[in-house]
Symmetry: C2
Subunit: 335 residues, 2 copies
Amino acid sequence: MSHRVTMRDVARAVGVSPMTVSRALRDDETVNAKTRHKIRQVANDLGYVYDTTAQAFRTQKSGFVAVTLPSINNANFAETFRGLSEGLGQSGMQLLLGSTNYQVDKEEELVRQLLTRNPEAIVLTGGHHTDETRALLSARNLPVIEIWDLPAAPLGHVVGFSNASAMAKVVTHLAEKGRYRLGFVGASENTDLRGASRRAGVIAAAAELGLPDVTIIDAGSAPVSMRHGAQAVSDLGDAVSELDALVCVSDPVAFGALSECRRRGLKVPSDIAVTGFGNFEVASVSDPRITTVGVTAREIGMQVAALLDDLFAGEAGDLPRIVDVGSRLVPGETS
Amino acid sequence: MSHRVTMRDVARAVGVSPMTVSRALRDDETVNAKTRHKIRQVANDLGYVYDTTAQAFRTQKSGFVAVTLPSINNANFAETFRGLSEGLGQSGMQLLLGSTNYQVDKEEELVRQLLTRNPEAIVLTGGHHTDETRALLSARNLPVIEIWDLPAAPLGHVVGFSNASAMAKVVTHLAEKGRYRLGFVGASENTDLRGASRRAGVIAAAAELGLPDVTIIDAGSAPVSMRHGAQAVSDLGDAVSELDALVCVSDPVAFGALSECRRRGLKVPSDIAVTGFGNFEVASVSDPRITTVGVTAREIGMQVAALLDDLFAGEAGDLPRIVDVGSRLVPGETS
DNA sequence: ACAAGTTTTGTTATCGGTAACATGTTATCG
DNA sequence: CGATAACATGTTACCGATAACAAAACTTGT
């Protein structure tokens, strides 16, 4: 009880050197099979627990991959995290998670904190960062992977998709259905930068197609969710009848908007169309099903895991890898 | 580039000993204010980054709190994690997260892995664990906190609520409304143990009130979500008309069931009532709003953070703390 | 039986901080 | 001015594993 069991203790008990124990526990083939067995046996009996901290210190490899997410409470980001987590299972890396609450300065602080743990790679959601964050990262020789975006000036590798062109698909789809007067429902501020990209994408696509100006409908500050979508429609009141479609920044927002429309007796899609983003479960289960954009959240995570595997195996080549996982329109019953 | 900047380098540049640098960077009052300033300045200029790994190794304090969740992709668990994360911000602890996929043997493996990082406390979701997990934890002198449950034989501290008595509230509420023939919609297997507790709670409460036997409706294997709820109702077919109410294991399941009922032309609540669990956002935004049970997911996290603060400050006393955060019925429009 | 090769094990130094203790340096006061 | 206290800094050893190198033990062929 007084003193934790170390390799030294195991070594003494077996009658070998600590080095042999170290090798045996890491399944080093050069250790005699019988010795290896005995060592594992004794280690177990003594209640030995491997000390990854010491290993990380000595080898200068933490075994950590740092990940920043805007929010953990978001099905899509959670799926990405899960894909990453499962995909990385093989390589023995552990994920060190932090959430930024959609704020770049929070991200900076988080990155600073995460870096003190010597991660072997860092995965950042989004392509917008403070200068200080960029400086911190480039000062280290650390693989950086940006996800959920296709930044113009990437820090390193990228696994993402274009939010703007995803929204263009939605706008085109609506225009084909004769929906010209669009309202965009999303966060007001620019803190949610993916949201801002989507808004910009809608505006650009509408202009491109010669549609009237997009009405921007403020749903509050990020993160916006179901209740914000409902509230936005509620705030809009009768002005909603001026619109052909509500283009929402995400499926939860769309679901909130849809529910509120129904509460107000508006028929969807005959009176107004509603679209979402992200292909969340709620989009396909809701009645009517919500037209949305499918983004392969889980696949982003898995692609990142694959990329990291290559990086750690030294098989990734020198060039930063840019993976566009794309997006696809998922037509539902609300448009 | 060749060699990372250490305290030694900073010390040399300033002309003091590494120890002084160490103290200065940790804001030790005994270091002269001017020296402290200079050291911080130089550390910054040299691009020094504190090495938490080395600190963790030397002090034998990792600064980690390990957390296991059944799933990260679950709004309630995510909220708990967030509450914990935010509440723990002060104490400088970092969370080390792992998810068990609702499997106790996965939990065991995870605990084993997490322990190698020398966490200073461990937070486990649920009160059911393998014997080996229990052994691993009790062999260490490590604070253990079980959450989201009130286990009969806790490993240490507890911050949770009774799943069974929460369901009893739902059953009582339904009985008062004249709903006697209940169907419980949840995961089939017993891997999701909180789900199993809820099922048991429903059965016990129905028996207590003298209601007819509860019909168990299999929604597939854990984690069950919206689509499972919809599928379960779909599978049920006409048999659904034999029931007065669908008692669902969670709000997402309830929402799926509700949507499917509507697709099939069933009126909720006049034809059948639907209830959920967890007071997820979808319950309050959905039209009609879903009757559910509010569990203070975020508060669980914050309570755990508060408890950990006390523990680390040595102010927690000797006895394990058992916190029942309770639960409350949130009547909606589906019952 | 011995050299040369192969397999297995051991020795030493070290990663970057910091606890505990020792020492130096500057105020304070009779 | 010298003694004592208060403050500021330095020294030494060490946390537990492991890379790099060294050496021992065992095979094998002649």
